[in-house]
Amino acid sequence: MQIETQLSNQLERYLDLAVSEAKLTAANMANIDTPGYQTRGMNFENEMRRALEGVARGEAPRPVDEKAVDGLISRPDGNNVSIDREGLRMAEAQLKFKTGIALMHLDKERILNAIHVDK
């Protein structure tokens, strides 16, 4: 018997990606005063699409493709971390993570209901 559903596998990838996004944001925030540091970022939508295809094919998760973000204004010391962008990203990653947890909770409830259906 299998308790894992496709939804729970997809949610697992979603949570992983939300943590990746939070990790990149935390690294950018930590280096806000490091001379020459370039903001790192990822494309959440592309990564999620790739992860969903991976789940459908039953593949193991692949590492996130992270790259330097362009279009940001550099300060004279060569650092281009923007407080506003990072603050927004952190809030976004946090909400994504909590959304994933809430959905996972629903999925678990559904399975528990199926187990306790006779009560």
Partner: protein
């Protein structure tokens, strides 16, 4: 991928920013110091930040955290030890604290015990405005990283909710 690793990264930044604020405080406290152990007036100190690379000293101290002696020294927490591949330490550290090479300010004060034969005293070249701006920057960056820690904490708390029914 590890949520505790995130907190380590933000924590390293808070530590570095606090160090920067301490250096600013030392600079302001010594704005009038004309004597130091190395001789001459106090020289303004700067901190230089550097991003942690993948093989940071932290990772190495993590690797030998299993030996009891390193736990006694308290080099790192034995928390959240992932496999070395996904434990990317993404924080910041202070690469060095350097001395400003600007020449000292000369003020005419023949009665001062540290006055030279020409009657001028060498004072440190410290501008309170520059120091205050630096302190403000450190405070803001500290606050930013502490709010990141709050966010990470709430994510960990949310993850714990999965096991509750």
């Amino acid at each position: 991928m590890n949520l505790f690793g995130l907190m380590e990264a933000s924590g390293s930044a808070m530590q570095a920013e606090r160090m920067r604020a301490e250096v600013v405080a030392a600079n302001m406290a010594n704005a009038e110091s004309t004597r130091t152990e190395s001789g001459g007036p106090y020289r303004r100190q700067h901190v230089v930040f550097a991003a942690n690379s993948v093989d940071s000293p932290f990772m190495n101290s993590f690797a030998d955290a299993s030996t009891p002696s390193s736990l006694v020294r308290g080099t790192s927490l034995p928390l959240g030890r992932g496999n070395s591949e996904d434990m990317i330490e993404a924080g910041v550290h202070i690469a060095q604290v350097i001395e400003d090479s600007a020449p000292p300010l000369k003020r005419y004060d023949p009665g001062h015990p540290d006055a030279g034969p020409d009657g001028y005293v060498a004072y440190p070249d410290i501008n309170p405005l520059t120091e205050m701006v630096d302190l403000m920057g450190a405070t803001r960056a500290y606050g930013l990283n502490s709010s990141a820690v709050q966010a990470e904490k709430s994510m960990i708390t949310a993850a714990l909710e999965i096991v509750k029914s």
